[in-house]
């Protein structure tokens, strides 16, 4: 492989941290938080694919396919919940939903 594994993992780490920063920083909008989560999942997928290519195993690619399926399911569910919440409270700010506080 031309690109060494280290570079792939570094890129995956950077993307993951950017996704995490998006989730943490952009909490006034639930949709942006979901996008952040998507970015983190993609970073993980990238790490899987890089690992699979490096060792010549097919597991990494299988896992990234599973993550794709899981992500599509998760996004459809999460978006429907965001729409529902927006209907009820007329807001998508995550800090306004604190009913589960101890």
């Amino acid at each position: 492989m031309i690109v060494p594994l280290t570079h792939v993992l570094l890129l995956a780490g950077i993307i993951f941290i950017m996704g995490l920063a998006c989730v943490v920083a952009w909490r006034s909008n639930l949709i942006m938080m979901l996008i952040g989560i998507e970015i983190m999942l993609n970073a993980a997928m990238l790490a899987f694919v890089g690992g699979g290519a490096h060792w010549g195993l097919v597991d990494g690619q299988i896992f990234s396919l599973i993550i794709m399926a899981l992500t599509s399911a998760e996004v459809s569910l999460a978006l429907s919940m965001v729409v529902y919440l927006h209907r009820r409270r007329k807001t998508v700010n995550a800090n306004d939903f604190s009913e589960l506080k101890g």
Binding site: L20, V23, V24, R27, A94, N95, F97, S98, E99, L100, K101, G102
Partner: protein, 630 residues
Amino acid sequence: MKLYLSLIILLPLLGGVINALVGRLFPRRVSECLACGVIWGAFIASLFAYHDYNGAIRVDLINWLAAFDFQAPVSLYLDPLSLVMIVMITFVCAVIHTYSVAYMTEEEDYVRYFALLNLFVFAMLVLVLAENLPLLYLGWEGVGFCSYALIGFWYREEKNATAGRKAFIVTRVGDTAFGIAIVWMYQLFNSVSITTLNQMGSTVSVGTITCIGILLLIGAMGKSAQMPLMVWLPDAMAGPTPVSALIHAATMVTAGVYLLARMFPLISPSSTALAAIALTGGATAFYAATCALAQRDLKRTLAYSTISQIGFMMLGVGAGAITAATFHLLVHAFFKALLFLAAGCVIAATHHEQDIFKMGGLKKRLPITFWSFLAGGACLAGLPLTGGFFSKDSILMAVWLKGGTLYCGLYLLGVLTALLTSIYTFRMIYLVFGGDDTDKLHCSSAHSCKVSSVMELALIPLALLGLFGGLINIPSYLGVGWLGALFAPLTGGTELETSHSLELGMQTIAGVIALAGLAIAHYRYGGNRRQERLTAAAGPETGVVSFFLYGWRFDDLYRLLFIRPYEALSSFLWQQIDEGVIDDSLDRVAAFFGRSGELLGSWTNGRVSIYIISFAAGAAMLLAYLAWLS
């Protein structure tokens, strides 16, 4: 023999238990008959035991305590000492039970009274018949408990309950010393059997024997109200009068003397321990006699006279004269029970008046009581030819014959005490029965000053036994005394070899002393001078009279020495240590955890972002830790 001894022990227990459990279900008369019947039954059984007695015998009933090589079965030991004690105890107790039936007719709570009285007799008989020290201790504590419960019988009055507690706590001091002595003897000799222990006296050093003797003496001090543990007995008069007669005069308080006489062969090698016993007895006899001189309360006067007479018995034990001490114990039991029962008649007749300065003229109103009381008083004072005269004289003579500075001093103290005894006895008789001013005594025609005939009849056998008690052990110039011959097989006691002229001389001295006391009392309280004393006594007591009245102020001394520091210590421990240190530190720990919990709790504020940051921070820390590991 086994049957008789079992009956003696079990009958009072049976009566007490039945009365305590189901006594309420019976008619009153049945309970009373049961209580009296079992004691008379025990008396008859002890008479049979006396009749069949031929030599010391040990009877094993059941196993009680057994662990490894420690053995304390319920076994009884009948020897001359316990034989005369059980006959005396069952007889005096039976008379007093019968008297109680009449005395307590108006008492609602008679079942508790009779149950406790029966249990007391049971415990006392266990104490006397026990063959080993743990069993003796069981009886010892049993009489202590019954005494406590009976002193505080009318517990609804604070004063009576306090007197009961005081008796219990003060005697506990002595019991502790006795308990230590038992454990120590077991450790030394590997046995708790009295007969075994009594043969061991010479096998250990004299110093050890002295220590054991002193510990036993402290135990006896508590139970027999000797100095310095005598403060409970005058207060114990808060109980019903028959209880005072039974427990605090005739039987229980002599348990200490009995214990020392019982263990005498063990402690006799130590002359120091014997001297301590004699000194305690002599000092107590003198102390109590001076206190009795100033008392105003009829029963307290008798209580102090009891302390004084038990002091004489201790003096006799200390002088090694077991026979003389037991002789005085027996005669004293008869005449002191008599005096208390007669005092009970007086108190019942005067509607619970106990101040002797408010009595008078009872001679005509209560002739039988008067003559009985006079007989008891004559014995107490030791007027010649009464029982008390012979017994007290034999103790004094034993002390004199012992020789040495200490014993000579104690003899002189004993003679002085005998003089004081005679004075206070006749002071009491003159004040209670002399004169004719009965107006003070609420004896209007409405309440006639009469007492039940059962109560007066009960006095007569005791009076006869007291007066003719001298026949139990006649002086050696008249023949062989019954008690002396019976006690001959007992080891350890020194038998007195004395010339008849010395004996006669001593008895003359004792007789003159007693008569001198009578003369002094007559001079101060007889005839018209009685009225002067009454007027003089109306004011408050001052100086030496009040010193004697309050028992040399020993109560105040103990309050200062023990009770105040104890209360101060208790309140310090309560407020500073318990509340200040323990509670406070626990409170602070609890508050710390509470606050830190609240602090952590504020983390869960429901904001998803905080959770995500915390989660990310935790993951970062984990990663950092893993990086640091590799």
